[in-house]
């Protein structure tokens, strides 16, 4: 390991601009002559749209234009596209309703955009937006899954009978039913997976700029994947050839999935800029973000686990309703299917699995991938069920997991739900986590809490996830409408510096450092001489962006592939200069050397020779030292591990304190341990947030009740302890780096550990179930109900 290469906890190159206030986020940019957009949004969950009267707004000071659904229709802008098609059990396609950029005919959720007001200043635009007079004829609405699938429920879309988007399944129903018939134990569970709002700290923003002189559009946007946005605008929404569109995602303040999707505002400011002849900037308010950013989770499930008399898992049967919201967001249909049901085997041998998933339209904001996306829902279901099975069978919960784990010698392991895990060691991560939390000291800690009059519990979760998204042919066969490889371009400069152009996008993950470490590892070039460029479609040839913990596993592998080409070409140049056969030249320690001799050329000398070729094999080798590579993964990667949580509960108030968190993850080879630990910390906070604090609530009529940080409870510093984070590495077997991905593990593994801990603490009172988020009120009521039941 070099001091700056793979495995080195080097400090981040990107930090200086952020700690000195010099980051450049979208809202920080000012284009000459820019105007400001404010959106008029529906206050109703469901309504027929009558007249949209813009006269008063147009007459207000500073107003440049007011654009409505009629203008969008007249311009024949494409609707917001969905990137994944799912088929029903009977082979018919899912219901895929239109999604116009501004509402036409009906509004279908609170926050559905109706008009865009453009003015000289943001304040003028905001004032004028109040003057747009919209006539609504309100209609009955549905917000919750249970209400939406009830007979006679109001329809979000006339074409979606019973509000069903699709009715999909996976696995072998007959095998599962047979196993259920012969099982010694069948454990049932009903679970809600609470709806969440991603809440990246930087609200979404977009600046559209049409340059009439060159007939070219530029969009600055808060995106995790600018090339995807350009592709979707070119092909589906703006209908402009891609060479005429530049999409820039500058510094982006967190994403967590919510900034993957192509949003209407991006299209509207870009299109509107041509109409008004000036740049248009839109920046979301936080309250607006709550009703316009894609939400996450929102499942209702019933599951059954069958076990034999020794506690061996025999079969799993799952039925899930998944809320899609009012429209299909870019990835939405894939989340409760191929990112959820395929993960239901977890780290266990379960011979038969069958999952049915019904996706449901409601009058709510669209739901799409949020950190973990489907995998947290699968892990939560399985780990709650396994704990319940331990109580039902009387087998210790650690032992029950251990005895059902896939053993290290069983890899590669084919699950009954489509995936083949390449590698892992669940026993090792379990043992490490138990040691890290000092499980032997748990009784003493519990006794101390009891002495304080408190309840104390330990919760466990052993999980797996699939990431490194994704092998293109596989996802194509499953309904993805685009490939999911990644691209890299590496330019070695004449004086030996390197610029890496990556299609991945960093919005906090530290790619500018981690990717530079890959260059250092292979070429020996110091980090100070490496620059990583991301987020600009004019500078980077292509890319699919950052989500699903794919940047290093897929984007990093593309960089490695390009580096192979750089080294191969360097060898040819070196062989010429050293008057040796190419096959005799090796590249080692930053030098091209003739094997077995001391004849060598430093990497910098070869870079210089490549560009200033006085003595150069120009007939056989092109000058220059720049290579591109595309990497298409052969399989998903499968991080996994064990998360342990101890909670202390004050029975007087129901308040849950997270007392102790220890995790052990297998995320494959680790490039920068400092960054990897940081990713785990952030995921844990969001996972603990889901378990204890966060819930996006609608009333039954579709009014959004949690539309600010006053009513949506975000985790704060005092809600969390220091985390004990450890790793056990089994390298991924199918990518050149051996990496798996770490971005989502915390959010996936920890929610069931927290809830299992809460139930463990409350179990002496007879409490057997509590739903997320386990708020003080909910816990207090559970305690009171248990007391009442005992009395």
């Amino acid at each position: 390991m070099s001091a700056q290469g793979i495995g080195a906890a080097v400090k981040r190159k990107e930090d200086r601009r952020f700690i000195t206030g010099k980051g450049q986020y979208t809202d920080d940019l000012v284009l000459p002559g820019q105007t400001y957009a404010v959106f008029v949004r529906s206050p109703h969950a469901h309504a027929r749209l009558g007249k949209v009267d813009t006269a008063a707004a147009l007459a207000a000071p500073g107003v440049v234009a007011v654009l409505t659904g009629a203008d969008v229709a007249a311009a024949e802008l494409g609707g917001m596209p969905c990137g994944w098609g799912i088929h029903n059990k009977d082979g018919t396609p899912m219901v895929e309703p239109p999604h116009p950029a501004l509402a036409q005919g009906k509004v279908r959720h609170v926050g559905d955009p109706v008009a865009m007001v453009i003015a000289e200043t943001k304040r003028q635009a905001r004032d004028a937006a109040q003057l747009v007079d919209v006539t609504y004829e309100t209609l009955p609405a549905v917000a919750h899954l249970a209400g939406a699938v009830a007979p006679g429920a109001p329809l979000v879309w006339d074409e979606a009978k019973g509000n069903l988007c699709y009715d999909w399944h996976l696995g072998d129903a007959a095998a599962v039913d047979a196993a259920l018939k012969n099982a010694k134990h069948i454990v049932d569970i009903d679970l809600d997976n609470n709806r969440l709002v991603p809440n990246a700290m930087e609200p979404r923003a977009a600046i559209g700029h049409y340059d009439a002189a060159n007939d070219r559009y530029t969009l600055y946007t808060t995106s995790q994947n600018p090339h995807v946005i350009r592709l979707l605008m070119g092909a589906f929404t703006l209908h402009v050839p891609e060479q005429k569109i530049r999409v820039v995602a500058p510094d982006v303040g967190g994403g967590f999935g919510s900034k993957i999707y192509h949003y209407a505002e991006e299209l509207l400011v870009t299109w509107g800029s041509k109409k008004v002849g000036r740049p248009i900037k839109w920046t979301s308010d936080r309250s607006e973000a709550f009703m316009s950013d894609a939400h996450g989770r929102d499942h209702v499930s019933h599951a059954q686990l069958a076990l034999d008399e020794h506690g061996k898992f025999l079969a799993l049967k799952v039925h899930t309703y998944a809320n899609m919201g009012a429209y299909l967001s870019t990835f939405a249909p894939a989340v409760p299917t191929y990112l959820y049901a395929t993960l239901l085997s977890g780290p266990y041998v379960i011979p038969a699995i069958y999952a049915e998933v019904k996706a449901v339209f409601t009058n709510t904001v669209p739901v799409d991938a949020y950190r973990g996306a489907g995998r947290p829902e699968a892990a939560y279901l399985l780990e709650r069920l396994v704990d319940k099975a331990a109580r039902a069978t009387g087998i210790d919960r650690v032992q029950l997991r251990r005895q059902n784990f896939i053993k290290p010698e069983q890899f590669p392991y084919q699950t009954p739900v489509a995936l083949q895990y390449d590698t892992g060691d669940y026993h090792a991560t379990l043992d490490l986590a138990l040691k890290a939390i000092d499980v032997d000291g748990f009784p003493a800690r519990k006794a101390a809490a009891t002495a304080r009059g408190h309840l104390y519990g330990l919760g466990i979760s052993t999980y797996i996830e699939a990431c490194g998204i994704a092998p293109s042919a596989v996802v194509g066969s499953l309904g993805a409408r685009a490939a999911l490889y990644e691209a890299a371009n590496i330019r070695v400069h004449p004086t030996g510096g390197v610029t890496v152009f990556t299609g991945a996008h960093s919005h906090g993950q530290g790619h500018e450092t981690t990717f530079a470490q890959l260059i250092n590892e292979r070429l020996g070039v110091p980090l100070e001489m490496v620059e990583v460029v991301h987020g600009d479609t004019d500078r980077i040839p292509f890319g699919l962006g950052t989500y699903g913990s794919r940047s290093l596993a897929v984007g990093g592998s593309a960089i490695f592939k390009a580096l192979d080409k750089i080294i191969d070409k360097g060898k040819k140049i070196a062989a010429h200069l050293l008057e040796a056969a190419v096959g005799d030249v090796e590249f080692k320690d930053g030098k091209f050397q003739v094997v077995g001799t001391d004849r060598a050329k430093a990497f910098g000398e070869i870079a210089f020779a490549a560009y200033v070729p006085h003595n150069y094999p120009i007939e056989t080798v092109e000058p220059g030292l720049e290579e591109s590579a595309f990497y298409d993964p052969k399989n998903f990667t499968f991080p996994g591990g064990c998360h342990l949580v101890e909670v202390e509960i004050d029975p007087e108030t129901g308040a849950v304190t997270v007392a102790n968190v220890a995790i052990s993850d297998d995320v494959g080879v680790i490039v920068n341990p400092m960054i990897v630990d940081g990713q785990a910390h952030g995921g844990l906070a969001q996972g603990i947030g889901q378990a204890l604090l966060e819930e996006c609530q609608y009333d039954p009529e579709g009014q959004l009740l949690t539309a600010s940080f006053m009513s949506y409870c975000m985790p704060r510093a005092a809600d969390l302890p220091f985390f004990k984070v450890g790793n056990h590495v089994t390298p991924c077997t199918h990518n050149p780096l051996g990496v798996k991905g770490v971005g989502e593990v915390g959010a996936i593994g920890v929610p069931p550990a927290v809830i299992n801990a809460v139930i463990d603490a409350l179990a002496p009172l007879g409490v057997t179930d509590i739903s997320m988020p386990a708020t003080p009120e909910k816990v207090w009521r559970a305690i009171q109900n248990a007391k009442g039941g005992a009395a």
Binding site: I19, A200, M201, R286, S287, G508, G678
Partner: protein, 159 residues
């Protein structure tokens, strides 16, 4: 329009503004000091934290006219004139106390104010002081470590 005079990062400024202008709007839109961020509209997230006369203030919750005659320090004014980082800035980098960087300026400005009041805070003190600053990336783990580490560094020579 109202005319106000104030010092921002030790530089005198006189500006004519709409009386509705918030301090954060003055800083970002008029003075182009975009290191101060806006992450919410309910004074909850703290991304807009600056110092007014040396005390941390959420600049989204103060009208610019209220800063008339006062001295405002933003994240851009924290490093030395030679570019030397403030110990709190250095600690955030050393401890990996930031990821996307959006909450970072507010965190740093708020944390510095804690150390002015309490030069040797406990972990508990730091976590409770930072309740008015939201971060979605770090789980606060390394932010708390950074503040504790800066406190150690600054003992005896607080800036």
């Amino acid at each position: 329009m109202s005319s106000i005079s104030l010092r921002v990062n030790d530089k005198p400024q006189t500006v004519a503004i709409d009386p509705r202008t918030l301090l954060v709007e003055l800083l970002r839109d008029e003075l182009r000091l975009t290191g101060t961020h806006v992450g919410c509209d309910t004074s909850q997230c703290g991304a807009c934290t600056v110092w007014v006369d040396g005390k941390s203030v959420k600049s989204c919750t103060m009208l610019a006219v209220e800063a008339d005659g006062r001295s405002v320090t933003t994240i851009e004014g924290l490093a030395g004139p030679d570019g030397a980082l403030h110990p709190m800035q250095a600690a955030f980098q050393a401890e990996h106390g930031l990821q996307c960087g959006f909450c970072t300026p507010g965190m740093i400005m708020s944390a510095c104010d804690l150390l002015k009041n309490q030069p040797s805070p406990s972990e508990h003190d730091v976590r409770h002081w930072l309740e008015g600053n939201l971060c979605r990336c770090t789980g606060y783990h390394n932010i708390v470590k950074a503040v504790l580490s800066a406190a150690d560094t600054m003992k005896g020579g607080a800036r």
